[in-house]
Assembly symmetry: C2
Homo-oligomer: 102 residues x 2
């Protein structure tokens, strides 16, 4: 199993807006080969720290999704206002992992 972890930072006052956007996501990713699930985690101590965690069958499936039109479409749905508020800095805060034990 392969993990993609994106650590987002936002003004805590705007965190509910970001969470709502995730709750209203279009779900396109769910139809991609090898997709297992996606969760959004909000830090207990720091409401402005949000983790987006997706799990995949393997690296190849994740890489294929990242290059897909589905990914572009899903990303383009995020409002400019919210994108500006998120200190995402793209790949800098995206880390990937292999699941090595359970």
């Amino acid at each position: 199993m392969y993990i993609s972890l994106s650590q987002l930072r936002i003004d805590p006052a705007r965190a509910p807006e970001l969470v709502e956007a995730f709750r209203g996501r279009c779900g396109l990713v769910d139809t991609n080969a090898g997709f297992i699930d996606l969760q959004v985690w909000q830090s207990e101590r720091d409401a402005g720290e949000i983790m987006m965690v997706s799990r995949w069958k393997d690296r190849a499936c994740f890489k294929a999704y990242m290059k897909s039109a589905d990914h572009r479409f899903s990303h383009d749905r995020i409002s400019d206002s919210l994108l500006t508020a998120i200190e995402l800095e793209a790949l800098k805060h995206m880390r990937t992992y292999e699941v090595v034990a359970e």
Copy 2:
């Protein structure tokens, strides 16, 4: 759902030993109320970065486990040699999250 995330750091040469220790874990945690699952993630870019991720029904279940004899017993099984090699620094690297969207 409630998440506990521990970020461990170890000399990459000793990472396989740590992964083996997780694979051989006694599984006591699995019997605790509210436990959902546990995964160990190894960074793709940095083999010495290991994440231990456990998922719980809620905060109360996790806190009860952390105070339990099962937790003490599981922790005490880790060899002193491995504990010394892990730059765990206890709570400093443990972060907790609420799952806010899926």
